[in-house]
C-alpha cells in the first residue's frame, strides 16, 4: 500500500506514483536558461520609475502632499480675513517680512507659505517618506524580494535616495503652486518690491519664486539623507519615521538654545531661512552657499553611512 494512493491530495493519473526523474541530459537546463538575455543599461532605470510611481501611489504620500497644499490656503484666508478690517497684517518679529506684503501682491504668498512650511511641515513630510524608504519595505518583507530580484543593494539605495530627493522637490512645488494659485485668487498680482527696496517685474518675481522653491527643495536633502540612514537601522517603518521626525524637532529646538551657539552652524536647519536672501537685490549669496554646502555635507555623510550599513546588513525580515 503506497502512501501516495491513500493521500487525498495526491494527483490523479500516473504522475502520482513517481516523482519526475531528473533530466538525464547534462547541460540541457543551461541551454534553456542562457537563452540570450542581453540587458540594456537603460533597463536599470526601470526600478527608479517603479519607485517614483509606487511612492506617489501610497495613500500616506498623498495625505502629506494634501496637508502641504492646504497650508497656503489657510495662510491666504487668514491674511484676507485679518486685513478686511482695514489694518495691515503686520507681524513684527521673526521670519522674513513677506506676510505684510501679501495684500499688495499675491506672489508674496509663495514666499510666506514656503517660510511657514520649511521649519516643520516640509521636513516632516520628507522625514516620513525617507524614514519609510528602506525600513517600510523591510517591515513588509518586500525588501527581500526586491533584493533577490535582484535589485542590488547599492542600486536600490541610490534609487531610494533619488526618489526621496524627487519627493523633496515635489513637496516644495506643491506648496509653491498651491500658494501661487491661492495668491492669484485672493490678492492682486503685479510688480513687486524686493527686501532691498528695489522694484522688479512680476515675471522676474516669478523666476525668483521658482529659484526659491528650488533652494527650499535642496534645503531638504540633508534631512532626506538622515532619514534614509535611520531607515537602514530598523525593520519598522513607523520607528524610522518617528525617529527621523524626532531628530528633526530636537535639532530645531537645539538651534534656539543660545548656549549651543558654537554647534549651531552645523545643524542642518540652521541656514534654512536664508532662501529669503534671494529676494534681495543684489542677491546675498553667503548664507545660501553655507546652506547648500551644509546640505551636501549631510547628504555625503549620511548617504555613506546608509550605504555602509545597508550593504552589510543581514536581511532577516
Amino acid at each position: 500500500m503506497s502512501r501516495a494512493e491513500t493521500d487525498p491530495l495526491s494527483e490523479k493519473g500516473p504522475g502520482s506514483e513517481a516523482a519526475p526523474a531528473p533530466r538525464a541530459a547534462p547541460g540541457a537546463e543551461a541551454a534553456v536558461a542562457s537563452a540570450v538575455r542581453r540587458p540594456s543599461p537603460l533597463w536599470t532605470f526601470g526600478l527608479l520609475r517603479s519607485e517614483l510611481v509606487t511612492t506617489v501611489r501610497r495613500w500616506r504620500t498623498l495625505a502629506l502632499l494634501g496637508v502641504l497644499a492646504v497650508v497656503p490656503v489657510l495662510v491666504g484666508i487668514a491674511v484676507k480675513i485679518e486685513t478686511r478690517g482695514g489694518g495691515s497684517a503686520d507681524h513684527g518679529g521673526q521670519g522674513p517680512a513677506f506676510i505684510s506684503q501679501i495684500t499688495n501682491n499675491g506672489l508674496f504668498l509663495v514666499f510666506t507659505a514656503l517660510a511657514a512650511t520649511l521649519p516643520f511641515f516640509l521636513p516632516m513630510a520628507v522625514g516620513v517618506v525617507a524614514g519609510d524608504a528602506i525600513a517600510g519595505e523591510a517591515g513588509a518583507g518586500t525588501l527581500r524580494y526586491l533584493l533577490v530580484a535582484p535589485a542590488g543593494r547599492t542600486r536600490l539605495l541610490l534609487t531610494k535616495y533619488a526618489t526621496v530627493t524627487a519627493f523633496c522637490l515635489l513637496a516644495t512645488l506643491v506648496v509653491a503652486v498651491s500658494a501661487l494659485i491661492v495668491g492669484a485668487l485672493l490678492f492682486p498680482l503685479g510688480d513687486l518690491t524686493t527686501i532691498s527696496g528695489t522694484r522688479i517685474s512680476f515675471a522676474e518675481g516669478l523666476g525668483r519664486a521658482l529659484l526659491i522653491a528650488l533652494v527650499v527643495a535642496l534645503s531638504l536633502v540633508g534631512v532626506a539623507a538622515l532619514g534614509l540612514f535611520v531607515s537602514t537601522l530598523t525593520n519598522s517603518g513607523i520607528a524610522a519615521m518617528a525617529t527621523t521626525v524626532g531628530l528633526l524637532t530636537t535639532v530645531q529646538i537645539l538651534d534656539q538654545i543660545p548656549q549651543l551657539h558654537a554647534l549651531q552652524p552645523y545643524f542642518f536647519s540652521h541656514y534654512w531661512l536664508s532662501f529669503a536672501d534671494l529676494m534681495r537685490d543684489p542677491v546675498y549669496w553667503d548664507d545660501l552657499q553655507k546652506n547648500l554646502g551644509l546640505q551636501a555635507l549631510y547628504a555625503a555623510v549620511f548617504g555613506t553611512a546608509a550605504w555602509a550599513r545597508f550593504t552589510a546588513k543581514d536581511i532577516s525580515a
Binding site: 531528473p22 501610497r58 513588509a140
Partner: protein, 332 residues
C-alpha cells in the same frame, strides 16, 4: 516511487557529476554556518549538494534552519562561516549575476497591499535590471496565468486570501525562465486543489529542466514531488540523497489483519518478527530475514484466521524517525 526503474535512475543520479561542468551541483555548500547575533546557532556546518535537474526536498522540523539556509543561499544574510555556491558561483559575491536566473519564494510571500496583483509583479520585475521592459507586461500576464490568478490580477493585493498571496509570490518567482527555483514552503496556506496545482506546476518546471529546491515540513509533499531530499535537524544536516534511497534506508513493516490478534502476535514472535504490536485487528512488526511465505504458513498452521498479510512499504516518515530517533514535528 515504487517503480524499480525510477529508483535505479535516481540512485545513479545522486552521485552524478555533470560532465563539462565545473560545478558540483546547482547548489553546493561547504561548512555553511550561521550564528545569529543573539548567539543562536541556526545552521551548523552544512554540506549540501543539489544535483542539476533534481527536485530537491529540504526537510526539517520548525526552527531547524531551513529558511536561514535559503537566506544565505540568496545572499540576504552573510554566513558566519563556510561557503555557498549557487549555479556554480559564490554567494553572496556573485548575487547580481546569479539571482536573475533564480526564482525564489522565501518565508511566505510579501506584497504591496495597496497595489494590484499585476502591479506587484510589475514592480518586482522592474527591480531586475536584466528584465526586458518591452516584454514585461506579457511576462507578468503569463506568470499570473500560470498560477491561476489571471482573473484576480486587478484586485488589490491587500484583499487577497492567504492562498492567493502565496500564488502571487510564486508568480513573482516565475517572471523569467529560471535555472533554479528556491521555494520555501510553497504550498503553505493553499487549499487541496491549490496544492495539487502547485505540485503539478513544480513537475512541469522540472520537466523543462529547472532545478527546484523545495523546503517543507510536509513529508507527503516531499515524497510526491521530489527526486532528492535532505533532512535537517537543529541546524545540522542529518542526511541527503535520492528519495528512494532514503526511504529504502528504513525497512518496511509486516502487517497482518486478523480477528485473533493475540494468537497472531505470539506466532509472529516465534517466527522471529521483532517489535510486534497489536492494534485492534492489525498486528504489525519488523519482518524477519526468512521467507514470508513460511511466516504466513505458520500463522495458518496455528489456526490464526488471516484476513490480510502484507508488507507495507517504508515511507519517508519512517526513514526520518529511523534517522533521528524522534517524531517528525518535535520542536528543536
Amino acid at each position: 516511487m515504487d517503480g524499480p526503474s525510477a529508483t535505479e535512475r535516481e540512485a545513479g543520479d545522486a552521485e552524478q557529476h555533470v560532465p563539462g561542468h565545473a560545478e558540483a551541483g546547482v547548489i553546493a555548500t561547504r561548512g555553511l554556518t550561521k550564528r545569529y547575533r543573539g548567539g543562536q546557532l541556526a545552521v551548523d556546518g552544512l554540506d549540501l549538494t543539489v544535483p542539476a535537474g533534481s527536485v530537491f526536498g529540504f526537510l526539517g522540523p520548525n526552527g531547524s534552519g531551513k529558511t536561514t539556509t535559503i537566506r544565505m543561499l540568496m545572499g540576504l544574510i552573510e554566513p558566519t562561516a563556510g561557503t555557498a555556491r549557487v549555479l556554480g558561483r559564490p554567494m553572496p559575491r556573485a548575487a547580481r549575476a546569479v539571482l536573475p536566473e533564480v526564482g525564489a519564494l522565501i518565508e511566505g510571500p510579501a506584497l504591496y497591499g495597496f497595489l494590484s496583483g499585476r502591479d506587484n509583479l510589475l514592480r518586482y520585475d522592474a527591480a531586475d535590471p536584466t528584465a526586458d521592459p518591452r516584454t514585461r507586461s506579457a511576462r507578468v500576464a503569463a506568470a499570473l496565468d500560470r498560477v491561476g490568478l489571471a482573473a484576480a490580477a486587478g484586485k488589490k493585493a491587500r484583499a487577497y486570501s492567504l492562498g492567493m498571496k502565496q500564488r502571487l509570490g510564486l508568480a513573482a518567482a516565475l517572471l523569467q525562465p529560471r535555472r533554479l527555483l528556491v521555494l520555501d514552503e510553497p504550498t503553505n496556506g493553499l487549499d487541496p486543489q491549490g496544492m495539487r496545482e502547485i505540485r503539478a506546476l513544480i513537475r512541469e518546471l522540472a520537466a523543462d529542466g529547472t532545478t527546484v529546491f523545495l523546503s517543507s515540513h510536509l513529508l507527503d509533499e516531499i515524497e510526491q514531488v521530489c527526486t532528492h531530499a535532505a533532512v535537517m535537524a537543529q541546524g545540522r544536516l542529518v542526511t541527503q540523497g535520492a528519495v528512494a534511497d532514503l526511504a529504502a534506508g528504513a525497512r518496511g513493516r509486516l502487517v497482518v489483519t486478523t480477528p485473533d490478534p493475540a494468537e497472531a502476535a505470539r506466532v509472529l514472535k516465534e517466527q522471529g518478527v521483532a517489535d510486534v504490536t497489536a492494534d485492534g485487528d492489525r498486528v504489525t512488526g519488523e519482518p524477519p530475514a526468512r521467507d514470508l511465505a513460511e511466516v504466513n504458513a505458520a500463522l495458518v498452521t496455528a489456526g490464526v484466521r488471516v484476513r490480510g498479510f502484507a508488507l507495507e512499504r517504508a515511507s519517508l516518515e519512517d526513514a526520518f524517525v529511523a534517522l533521528t530517533g524522534e517524531g517528525f514535528d518535535v520542536a528543536s
